[in-house]
């Protein structure tokens, strides 16, 4: 089950690891994604802090990590097909032994916050 941040990232726990992506709303606002500056596996990320960037032709969006921990894996597919980062449910990186940030929203709460 996905949980959302106020800055439009989502996180989902699967088998003890946290998978992070951006919401469809954020992807729409950014426009067609042309480049993903992926974090390095092994890098430490801090909840609420920027950890990687998505670029469209005329804008840059920082991804604020919804979790603290160490980057376990990155979605290599995005290196060649960055536009997929904007598709519903596509993850960008995963974190092992994650500590979730406070104040995450459920999908319903997040959708309500966009109204």
């Amino acid at each position: 089950m996905k949980q959302y941040t106020g800055t439009h990232e989502w996180v989902e726990l699967r088998d003890g690891a946290a998978y992070v992506g951006i919401s469809a709303h954020a992807a729409h606002e950014l426009g067609e994604i042309v480049y993903v500056d992926l974090p390095e596996p092994g890098a430490a990320v801090t909840a609420g802090e920027p950890c990687c960037e998505l670029e469209s032709v005329k804008a840059v969006a920082e991804v604020n990590s919804p979790v603290s921990g160490v980057v376990d894996a990155v979605n290599e597919e995005l290196a060649d097909s960055p536009e997929k980062a904007g598709e519903e449910g596509v993850w960008i990186y995963s974190v092992s032994s994650p500590v979730l940030m406070d104040g995450l929203m459920s999908e319903a709460e997040y959708k309500a916050s966009l109204e």
Partner: protein, 430 residues
């Protein structure tokens, strides 16, 4: 008075009527009163004819020379009339940065062609659309390659203006600059400098060709990025920095069709391996297709730039030297590979002839290293006497580096007769 306005008095009155004002000063009603009240003298203008005369009078106060043997970063080359004519077309001269690609395809394509030419000359994968000068290109390349914890290393045989500019740019970013002494005029890379990036020039300030391969591999072996500064004309002959393993090539392409013009505008260039493509400072043109599948050119990777990334941009550069890049592209199209090699060969052949003859006349070469089209002679205590004697014959001699040494430059503009006269004059002065 020249004014270049198109609004007549009658039109002005009509426009003011539409705006409901009777005096132009009403348009400035937002200005605080104490500023509006402030009076200062305004001079009268002059006609175009008078303006030309006034500026021509200043131009005439500069000495003119029948031959020039001074380079040191500003080179006197032949500029084909076709270069000057083509680049003076108003579409190229007056347009803005090509942010509207549909009506800027010509400029974008010409810049793309320039980038291609610079990549070819330097042996690199990507070139930017230009920088203010070779000095700022070198400085920005060093900032790009440096990591904050390790120094940038360079040598005291690089162009002095470039060295000072490097110092300014790196100091502002809190990056240490270490300047190593190049003992016999050539750079040697010692181990253990701890450098994050190394910058050297070939040919260097004294005209000497460095061991680009050797320096590059020594620096890279210790984990440093390597930036090589090159007069791009020399690259018509010599192995490119890319072929020698360097990461970034920079320099000034003024020799490709730009007049000396008292030091500018010139053409800083930067070319790099493809892994730097998203770190490069300044504009880059890329190829794509339009809605109908036709080839089209656009400014690309703009997220690196200040107008999008603001304080996180790779540089603050906005205006560059676009028209100079166009000039270089036209120049290189006109010379072609064969013509460019011939120009470079003539420069080198003249320089080696003059060096040999001066040496016979008593002005010995100060350094032993092989050189391109500049070299240093030594004549104890006589440097300024020699250049003064040449001045009296309307010849701009080499640049005195101190009381003893002169940095000479030959280009394709110098004929044998001119060089023989220099040699004769030097002999008389010694």
């Amino acid at each position: 008075m020249a004014d270049y306005l198109s609004i007549t008095d009658a039109e002005r009155a009509e426009m003011m009527k539409l705006l409901g004002i009777t005096k132009i000063s009403e348009l400035y009603s937002d200005l605080p009163r104490e500023l509006r009240r402030k009076k200062f003298a305004l001079s009268d203008g002059r006609s175009q004819q008078e303006t030309y005369a006034a500026l021509a009078e200043l131009a005439a106060k500069n000495a003119t020379y029948r031959s020039i043997f001074r380079g040191a970063g500003s080179y006197h080359h032949y500029i084909p009339s076709a270069v000057k004519s083509i680049v003076s077309r108003e579409e190229f001269l007056t347009s803005y940065t090509p942010y509207q690609p549909e009506i800027s395809q010509g400029l974008l394509q010409a810049t793309f062609e320039f980038q291609t030419m610079m990549c070819e000359l330097t042996g690199m994968d990507v070139a930017t659309a230009s920088h203010y000068s070779g000095a700022t290109a070198a400085a920005e390349a060093c900032v790009m390659c440096a990591d904050r914890s390790r120094p940038v290393v360079t040598f005291d045989n690089i162009d002095p203006d470039t060295l000072e500019t490097l110092g300014t740019y790196l100091k502002a970013r809190g990056i240490e600059l270490k300047v190593l002494h190049a003992g016999d005029g050539s750079a040697q890379y010692p181990s253990g400098t701890g450098a994050g990036a190394v910058y050297f020039e070939s040919p260097n300030y004294y005209g000497i060709l460095e061991d680009v391969n050797g320096l590059t591999s020594a620096a890279k072996a210790e984990g440093a990025k390597v930036i090589v500064g090159c007069n791009p004309l020399s690259l018509a002959l010599f192995k490119s920095p890319g072929e020698c393993g360097a990461d970034v090539a920079v320099g000034d392409a003024q020799p490709f069709g730009m007049p000396m013009s008292f030091g500018g505008p010139y053409l800083g260039y930067m070319a790099a391996r493809k892994e730097f493509i998203r770190k490069l400072p300044g504009r880059i043109v890329g190829e794509t297709t339009d809605a109908d599948g036709r080839r089209a050119f656009v400014l690309t990777l703009q997220t690196r730039e200040q107008h999008i990334r603001r304080e996180k941009a790779t540089s603050n550069i906005c205006s560059n030297q676009a028209h100079c890049a166009l000039t270089a592209a036209v120049y290189l199209s006109l010379t072609g590979p064969q013509g460019l090699k011939e120009v470079a060969t003539k420069c080198a052949s003249n320089a080696h002839y003059l060096a040999r003859e001066l040496s016979h006349a008593g002005a010995k070469l100060f350094y032993e290293g092989e050189f391109f089209h500049e070299f240093v002679t030594v004549t104890p205590g006589k440097a300024s006497k020699i250049t003064a004697a040449l001045e009296r014959k309307d010849i701009l001699g080499g640049l005195p580096l101190d009381k003893h040494r002169i940095l000479w430059c030959c280009t394709e503009m110098n004929g044998k007769a001119d060089m023989d006269e220099v040699v004769k004059t030097v002999k008389e002065a010694l």
